[in-house]
C-alpha cells in the first residue's frame, strides 16, 4: 500500500483527550513506521501516558482516531493488545511469585501453549540477563532488575510493537545504559517497532531513530534528532554574537543595524548580539573592517539539543514566544 520501508504501524490523527475542561492531548498527529524506535519526549504531565493508553484502547479518546497495525484500538482492543506489548510506567509484578512465574502468567493470559511458553520465557530471561534470578521471588529484585523483567514480560507475547512508558525511570545511570542497549538490541533481534516515552532527552536520543517533542498535549516537532534542531529553529531568528574593541560598541551597533537582514541589535558586555533573518557574518565582518573597527570574534549560534531541552522541557516558556537571546546565552 505504502512504500515498503516506511510502512506505518501506528497512526494517530487528531487524537484528543479532555478531562473536563483540561485538554491533556490536543489534536495529536503521529506516525510510527515499522521497525523504528520512536521516542516520545516531553516533560512530565505532557500527556505521553494518556496518548499511550489511547493507542492501546485503554482510554477512550475525546476526538480523533488511532490505528495500530491497521486496527482501531477502541473497536478491536484485543486484536491490538495481542500484538502490542506495553510496559507501564512503574511496572509492577507479583512479589510472591518468581520472575519466571510472573512471565508464565502473562503467557497464560495470552493463551500461549504452556510448553512453548516455558522455553520462550527461559530464552527471554537469558536475553535480559536475568537467567540466574529466574527462580527468585520478585520481591528480592532491584529496580533495574524489575525493569529488565518488564522488558522480558512485554516480549512474552511475541509482539510486533512494544510501547515503553518511561523505561529508564528510577534506575541508576549504569542501569539506564543497560536497559537502553537492551531495548535497541531487542528491537533488532525481535524485529519489533518500539515506541518509548521519556522526559529525559539525553538518555534516549542515543537509541531513537526519530523522536517527537511533546509539550502541553501537542507534538511540536518530530523527526530524527539531528534535524529537530533545525526544525525548531526554523521559525526563530538566527543569533550572531559580535565581539568588538573597547569603546567601539556604539559605532559598531550603528553600522550593523544598517545591514540587510538584521532584525535587532542588543549591546552586551564586550560586544553585540544580533538577531537576524539569515547568516550575516560575512557582511558584518566586511562592514566593520572597512570602517576601521576591530573585530575580535564573530559567532553564529545554532540550536543544539541542549537548547531544545532548555527551550521546551524546563518550562517557563510558552509556545510562540521563543526568545533567541536566552537560547544564545544558554549555548554560550
Amino acid at each position: 500500500m505504502e512504500q515498503p520501508q516506511a510502512h506505518a504501524v501506528i497512526e494517530a490523527r487528531g487524537l484528543t483527550k479532555r478531562y473536563g475542561q483540561r485538554t491533556v492531548v490536543d489534536g495529536l498527529d503521529l506516525t510510527v513506521h515499522e521497525g523504528e524506535i520512536f521516542g516520545l519526549l516531553g516533560p512530565n504531565g505532557a500527556g505521553k501516558t494518556t496518548t499511550i493508553l489511547m493507542l492501546l484502547g485503554l482510554t477512550e479518546p475525546t476526538a480523533g482516531t488511532a490505528r495500530v497495525l491497521g486496527h482501531d484500538p477502541l473497536r478491536e482492543p484485543l486484536e491490538v493488545k495481542r500484538q502490542v506489548g506495553y510496559l507501564p510506567e512503574n511496572v509492577g509484578f507479583y512479589d510472591d511469585l518468581t520472575g519466571f512465574e510472573n512471565l508464565l502468567y502473562t503467557a497464560r493470559l495470552n493463551g500461549i501453549d504452556e510448553r512453548e511458553a516455558r522455553a520462550h520465557i527461559a530464552s527471554l530471561l537469558e536475553a535480559v540477563g536475568l537467567a540466574s534470578a529466574a527462580d527468585r521471588r520478585v520481591r528480592e529484585y532491584s529496580r533495574g532488575m524489575r525493569q529488565r523483567l518488564g522488558l522480558a514480560d512485554v516480549l512474552v507475547k511475541r509482539p510486533r510493537i512494544i510501547i515503553l512508558d518511561e523505561p529508564t525511570l528510577g534506575i541508576d545511570p549504569k542501569g539506564v545504559d543497560e536497559v537502553l542497549q537492551l531495548i535497541a538490541r531487542l528491537s533488532q533481534e525481535e524485529r519489533v517497532t518500539v515506541l518509548l516515552s521519556s522526559h529525559l532527552l539525553h538518555q534516549v536520543q542515543r537509541i531513537c531513530h526519530r523522536v517527537g517533542i511533546f509539550v502541553g498535549g501537542r507534538l511540536i516537532a518530530q523527526g530524527p534528532v539531528e534535524s529537530l534542531a533545525r526544525q525548531l529553529a526554523g521559525a526563530a531568528p538566527l543569533v550572531v554574537e559580535v565581539g568588538v574593541g573597547a569603546g567601539e560598541q556604539s559605532r559598531a551597533e550603528h553600522l550593523v543595524r544598517a545591514i540587510d537582514g538584521v532584525l535587532d541589535v542588543t549591546a552586551y558586555a564586550d560586544g553585540l548580539v544580533l538577531s537576524c533573518r539569515q547568516d550575516v557574518r560575512a557582511e558584518v565582518a566586511r562592514t566593520l573592517v572597512t570602517h576601521g573597527l576591530s573585530l575580535l570574534h564573530l559567532r553564529l549560534h545554532t540550536y543544539g539539543l541542549d537548547d531544545i531541552y532548555r527551550l521546551y522541557f524546563q518550562g517557563g516558556m510558552q509556545d510562540g514566544q521563543r526568545d533567541p537571546r536566552s537560547v544564545a546565552s544558554g549555548a554560550a
Partner: protein, 340 residues
C-alpha cells in the same frame, strides 16, 4: 548472540490463529487459576483457616461432651444427635455454628479486600489490562477463584469436624442429617461469598488497600454486633411497647424488629442455619398460639419443608452477594486504568 531469542516462526502464528477460538476464555481461566493458587498458598488464608479449624474442632469437642451429659441425664434418644453436635455449645465455648457465622466473614474479607486496589497499588493492573483478555475476566476470575477457595475450605472444614463428631459420639449420621449438613455448608459458602463480594466492592471503589480492609471490617462489625442493638432501638421507636400485656403491641414490635434485622445478612444466615440444623424449627419469628393448633409438638420437619421455610433467606443472601459483585463489576469496568 543474535539467535538468543527465537524469532516467531510462521508455524507458531498459525497455531495461535487456530487456537484462538478454543482459547477464547483463556483470560478467565488463567486469572482464575492464578488467583486460586494464590489464595490456597497465601499466608492470610492459612492463618484464618487455621483459626477457624481450631475454633471449629474445639467447639465440636465441647459440643460432644455437653451432648453426652445431657443425653445420658435425659435418658432419651434424639433422632438428630449428629446435627446437635454443630449447634450445641458448652459453658466454656459457643457452638460450632457461632464460630462459622462470626469468623466466616473475616475469611471472605481477607481473601478479597485488596482484590482490585492491591493490583493497582502494586502496578500490576495496568500490565494485566494490556493483555489480550476481556477486562471483566479479571474481576470475574477473582470472584470465582475466591468462591472456589471458600467452597473448598468450607466443605473441608465440614468434613473435618463431622469426622471428629463421628469419632466422639459414635453415632453415624442418617441420610437426612447428611443432606442437611451439605445444605448448611452450601449456605455457608453463599454467606461468606457475600462478604467476599462486599470486600471486592470496597477494593474496587477505594484506592487504598487499608481503607478497603477497614471498610469491610467496619461493615462486618456493624452487622455482627451493633446492627441487632440498633434495629432493636428503631423497632422500639417505631412500635413502642407501652403495655407489655397488650399482645398486639408486643407483636407489632417483634415484627418490626425482625423485619429490620432481616436486612442484615448475618441474621438471615443464622436463621437459615438454625432451620437447617434443627429440624424441629417450624417457623421463624413470632408464632401465635392459634397457628400451632393441631401441630404435633416436637415433630421434625422434612428437609424439603425446612428449605421452603428459608427459601427467602437463601434468595436474599444470594441476591446480596450478586448485587455487591454487580456494583463492583460496573465500577471496575468504568474505571480509568492509570498506574499510580
Amino acid at each position: 548472540m543474535a539467535s538468543a531469542i527465537p524469532a516467531p516462526s510462521p508455524a507458531v502464528r498459525r497455531e495461535t490463529v487456530i487456537g484462538r477460538l478454543l482459547r477464547r476464555p483463556a483470560g478467565l481461566g488463567a486469572v482464575f487459576r492464578k488467583e486460586l493458587a494464590d489464595h490456597l498458598s497465601g499466608h492470610r488464608f492459612v492463618i484464618l483457616v487455621g483459626l477457624v479449624v481450631v475454633a471449629g474442632l474445639a467447639a465440636i469437642y465441647v459440643g460432644a461432651r455437653t451432648l453426652r451429659d445431657t443425653l445420658t441425664q435425659a435418658s432419651q434418644s434424639d433422632p438428630f444427635v449428629f446435627l446437635r453436635l454443630f449447634t450445641t455449645g458448652g459453658s466454656s465455648l459457643p457452638p460450632f455454628t457461632f464460630f462459622v457465622e462470626f469468623l466466616g466473614p473475616l475469611l471472605g474479607i481477607a481473601l478479597a479486600f485488596d482484590a482490585i486496589n492491591g493490583e493497582r497499588v502494586r502496578g500490576t493492573l495496568s500490565r494485566l489490562v494490556s493483555q489480550p483478555i476481556y477486562r471483566d475476566a479479571i474481576i470475574n476470575g477473582k470472584f470465582l477463584a475466591g468462591l472456589a477457595a471458600l467452597a473448598i475450605m468450607v466443605f473441608a472444614l465440614g468434613g473435618l469436624v463431622g469426622g471428629l463428631g463421628l469419632v466422639l459420639t459414635g453415632v453415624p449420621p442418617t441420610l437426612e442429617e447428611f443432606l442437611r449438613l451439605v445444605a448448611f455448608l452450601a449456605v455457608t459458602v453463599v454467606y461468606i461469598g457475600f462478604w467476599l463480594s462486599l470486600a471486592i466492592l470496597f477494593s474496587t471503589l477505594l484506592r487504598q488497600t487499608v481503607a478497603s480492609a477497614l471498610a469491610s471490617l467496619a461493615t462486618w462489625l456493624f452487622f455482627s454486633i451493633f446492627a441487632g442493638l440498633l434495629f432493636g432501638l428503631v423497632a422500639d421507636a417505631v412500635a413502642p411497647v407501652t403495655d407489655s400485656q397488650d399482645a398486639m403491641q408486643v407483636l407489632r414490635n417483634a415484627r418490626w424488629n425482625l423485619a429490620l434485622n432481616r436486612l442484615s445478612p448475618t441474621l438471615l444466615y443464622s436463621e437459615a442455619v438454625e432451620t437447617l440444623l434443627n429440624p424441629q424449627v417450624r417457623s421463624l419469628g413470632p408464632l401465635l398460639l392459634e397457628q400451632v393448633i393441631g401441630a404435633v409438638p416436637g415433630a421434625p420437619l422434612p428437609l424439603g419443608q425446612s428449605l421452603l421455610l428459608i427459601w427467602p433467606h437463601l434468595t436474599a443472601l444470594t441476591a446480596a452477594m450478586l448485587i455487591c459483585f454487580m456494583v463492583a463489576y460496573i465500577a471496575f469496568m468504568r474505571q480509568e486504568v492509570r498506574a499510580g
